[in-house]
Amino acid sequence: SQQGEEDPQALSIQEGENATMNCSYKTSINNLQWYRQNSGRGLVHLILIRSNEREKHSGRLRVTLDTSKKSSSLLITASRAADTASYFCAVTGNQFYFGTGTSLTVIP
C-alpha cells in the first residue's frame, strides 16, 4: 500500500508560473525525497530533505518538510514545458515508499 499521497493528483499551469505539489505520509521517516518521471519511464531523483531539515533549495526547486504534520511540499519556480512530468515523493523509513504522484502539465 502507498505510504504517501500527493496532492493535487493533476496540475496544469502556464509556462513561467510556479507549481506547488504536496505530499502527506504516514510513517516515521529518515528522509524524504522527490522524484520525477517522464511518460512511464524511469524515475529521476530531484532532491532529498532529511527529517531534521525544514527547507531545502536546489536550482528552481524548493522543498519543505513538516514532520509534525507528516507533510512536504515541492515548489517548482518559473516552470518550463520540459517540467511536464509526474512527480512523486518517497519516504525512507524501514522501507522505501512512494506516493501516488502529481501529474504536472506546463503549457507553453
Binding site: 525525497q33 524511469g42 524515475l43 531523483h45 522505501f96 504522484g101
Partner: protein, 113 residues
Amino acid sequence: DAGVTQSPTHLIKTRGQQVTLRCSPKSGHDTVSWYQQALGQGPQFIFQYYEEEERQRGNFPDRFSGHQFPNYSSELNVNALLLGDSALYLCASSLVGAKNIQYFGAGTRLSVL
C-alpha cells in the same frame, strides 16, 4: 558511466507463465531494488538485494522472487502470472549508506494476456 539498464524493455506473456526480468546496476552501486508500477500509480516496493541476499521485502506474494549475482546485477522472477501482474517493473540501484538515493532504469513493461 553506464546507468541502470534493464532488459527486456517490453514483454508479453499469458496467464500462468513465468517471467524473468534483468537489471544491471549503475557502476559502483551494490544494492538493487525492484518496484512494480501499475498504470497511473506510484511505484510499489517489491524487494531489495544487497550482498546477494534479500534484505527487505514489500507486500508481495512468494510468486515474486529475485536473485543478485556477485557482479551486483539482479533478476526478478514472477511465477504463475496473473492479469494483475501487468505493470511497469522498475529496477533501482543505490550505494548502501548513501542516503538511499535510488537511480532507476527505464523499466520493463510486462503485459499479461
